[in-house]
Each structure stands twice: as C-alpha cells, then as structure tokens.
C-alpha cells in the first residue's frame, strides 16, 4: 500500500454561528483506502467533505487532496474528485438526463463516454427523462453515473445508499466494488448506514460533535474494541483509567459485560489486577466497534 495521502486535513475547525461543526479535525486518508467516515447526524461528516471540495471555507486549519491545497486550488481539486452529495436535488432540473450527462462531460477531460454509457445501462437511468421529474432513487442512480464516469482518483460519497431500495442498493455497491477493481481509486464514504457499506471498508474514522475521536485501519479497530465478560465481586467498581464504551450489568448475579477500548491484554491485566475475573474477550462487528467511540463515557 502506498504511504501517500489522497486526502488530509490539518486542524480543521469550523463554526456555523455559535454551533461547532468541526473542531481540530486531522483527517488522514491513504491513497487506495476505502475510508468510512462515521458519526451521528450533525457530527460533521458532510461538512468535512465540503471542505475537501472547497465548497465550504473552514475558520481554521487547511485541507489537501493529492497534495493540492483545497482553498487555493479548488478547481484543480474538484477535477480529481467524483462527488455524490447528500442532497438528491440536481441544479439543472429542466434538462433531460442525456443533456445533463453531456453538460457534465464537458467539465471533465477524463470523461469516459463508453463507460458512462455502460453505467447508464447498469444503473437503469432513463436518459430521455427530465432531471426534475426523477424519483429519489433514480436521482441517486444518475448521481452515481456522474460521479464515476470520469474515473476520478478520489470519490466522496455522502450517504450513498440513501433513497435506494434494497435490490438497487446491492447492485450499486457491487458496481462500486467492480469499479474499484478496474480503476485505482480512494473512496471516502460518509454514512450512518454502516452495515450496508462496511464490507468495502479498510479504514474507519469516527466523528463526534465535530471532533475526530477515532481514526484507524479496520484491523486496528477490531483489535482495539472488544466485549469483555467479567465476573466481579459485590460492589465492584470499574477502575477509572479503563475506557468504557458501554456496560451491561444485571441487577442480579456477578456476571457483567462491558465494551471496552484499549489493547486487550493490557485491559484484561488491568481488570484482573482490580479483582475482576475475565471469562471471555470477543471482537465485535465493525459497526458495533465504531459505535463504541460514539458512546464512550466521559469522552464527550
């Protein structure tokens, strides 16, 4: 894997009035990664993408795409990026899909007409229809064609599966996987439908209230967040230096279950030293592990 970064931000901060949208975000997306950017609604996912495209200006910090400064080289950056916005609305509602495709093609020297025709076919876009009359799902499919047809080295997908019915969703994600096999691409996916896209991901970043609280590879995430089944004596308290994501402690019995963040051997040793007996340590599915950073106690 290349050590080069496809996208990076440095101390990115941004406010909407008194609301904090981003707070010191240091994004690092290696070239070739499929990077899942996760977080609750309003955590800063869409704003981060817009800064990468220079559609939003940060109050502090900077952003780079393939080493290009997004603020001073916006047009050069956007030429390298395929963007699927969160909004389903198109700017040119009065155009037919065919006309819009021709229009967008003019903006991209790298536009691949044969591939565009193939994508139109795969996604079932009816090119004679007016853009403004498309359903939510059809509009999304057209946006996929527009984002992929110039084979950009960076794809920014904001809630890509939103509005797609399950059948179309699977076909779309399969097409995306095939696209990645044919074209060297870095992908950033912002979503809260983690289970729909998680199998594609190899990197994960978690935003919480505008702060990037976790950023690691999929395997690191798997190693860092585990579920612990523990037997504890009456009145036992979790040591304060253990990072607790969530707890299940029944009223009766001595068995409790915690989702804890940290290197498993070290965490187990800490629990044992505190008088608990660890009976089982299990890894979690990606979504559950990522959720741990959104719910970590005392981290907000």
């Amino acid at each position: 894997m290349s050590d080069e970064l496809a996208a990076a931000t440095y101390g990115l901060s941004m406010h909407y009035g008194r609301e904090t949208a981003l707070d010191g975000v240091d994004l690092r997306v290696p070239e070739g990664a499929v990077y899942l950017l996760l977080g609750a609604n309003g955590a800063g996912k869409s704003t981060t993408m817009k800064v990468l495209l220079n559609l939003e200006r940060p109050d502090a910090g900077s952003a780079e795409v393939f080493g290009l400064d997004t603020a001073s080289q916006g047009p050069e950056v956007r030429a390298q990026v395929g963007y699927l916005p969160e909004s389903h609305a198109h700017d040119y509602a009065w155009m037919t899909c065919r006309r819009l495709l021709q229009h967008v093609a003019l903006h991209y020297p790298a536009w691949d007409h044969a591939y565009a025709a193939h994508l139109v076919d795969v996604f079932g876009v009816r090119v004679e229809r007016k853009v403004g009359t498309l359903s939510k799902g059809e509009s999304r499919r057209l946006q996929f064609v527009l984002a992929l047809a110039h084979r950009p080295p960076l794809l920014l997908l904001d809630e890509p599966t939103d509005g797609l019915d399950p059948m179309v969703r699977n076909r779309t994600l399969a097409q995306l996987a095939e696209h990645l096999a044919d074209t060297p691409t870095t992908v950033i996916v912002a979503t809260h439908h983690v289970h729909e896209v998680e199998s594609l991901a190899d990197h994960v970043g978690v935003l919480r209230d505008g702060r990037l609280v976790a950023q690691m590879t999929r395997d690191e995430l798997r190693a860092t967040v585990r579920r612990y089944r523990v037997e504890v004596p009456d009145g036992w308290q979790m040591p304060p230096d253990v990072r607790v994501a969530s707890a299940r402690r029944p009223r009766a019995g001595r068995e409790a279950q915690w989702t804890l963040i940290g290197e498993p051997d070290a965490v187990t040793a800490r629990l044992t030293a505190a008088g608990a007996s660890v009976s089982e340590v299990t890894p979690l599915a990606l979504e559950e592990a990522a959720l741990a950073f959104m719910s970590e106690e005392g981290a907000a």
Binding site: N170, A177, L180, A181, D202
Partner: protein
C-alpha cells in the same frame, strides 16, 4: 463456488474468504484445476474491497492451494489432492474452535462437549 461472509464473525474478511475457498475444496465443490472467480467478480459479488479478495488469493497462492496462470486467471492447484488431509485438519480446527468458544460461553468444558457430541453422533447413527 459459493462464498458466504458473516459481518458478525470477528475475523478479518480475507481470512473468511480463505476459509470459504478451503471449505469448497474439502467438500468437493472446487476441485483441482477448477477456475476461481476473478478478483473483480468476487469483489462485486460479495461487495467487498477488491484488495481484500486479492489478499485472500495471495495468501492461498502462498500456501499452494491455488495458482495464477498468466492472462488466464486463478485456478485450484493440482497438488490439492495431496494436501487434502492437512486442509481437512485445518477446517476441523476452525469448526472445533467455534464450538469450544460457544461451550465456554455457556460454562461447559471441552470434555463435556466432546462427550455429548459422541453421544449425539451415536444416536443419529441408530435412527438412520
């Protein structure tokens, strides 16, 4: 070859793909010199990162389970018959590991589990 991935399986996806290929060979749905799906095809089918499929194929190639014929694709190794015992053992190991984990979670030990498996197998034998 049918590959199934389990998102709740804690193991890496490439390891799951490797296991599925081994399983297909053990049960005979994949045999020596059979072609495997291309990286692109399998990535599309499973909706996984093509790199994940490549990693699984590279590891399997390193183990001698499959081999690449330049420009033609990936095939099951002809030596696969010779490695059958070894692969069976590896598969058994994985199945046993899962069963043991489940047993421990339920407060049972290995001896209780093995005894009950023997008893159940014997009962099934009687009813057949």
């Amino acid at each position: 070859m049918l590959v199934n991935l389990d998102p709740n399986d804690g193991r890496s996806l490439y390891l799951q793909i490797m296991d599925e290929v081994r399983r297909a060979i053990v049960v005979g749905t994949l045999q020596a010199e059979d072609p495997l799906p291309s990286v692109r095809e399998l990535a599309g089918e499973l909706v996984v990162n093509p790199r994940t499929v490549s990693q699984a194929y590279q590891e399997l190639e390193r183990e001698g389970v499959i081999y690449v014929r330049r420009g033609q694709g990936t095939f099951v190794s002809p030596a696969v018959k010779r490695g059958a015992g070894e692969r069976r053992r590896k598969l058994t190991r994985e199945v046993a590991k899962r069963a043991l984990l489940d047993a421990r979670r339920n407060g049972l030990d290995a001896e209780e589990l093995v005894t009950m498996i023997r008893k159940l197998a014997a009962e099934e034998g009687e009813t057949e």
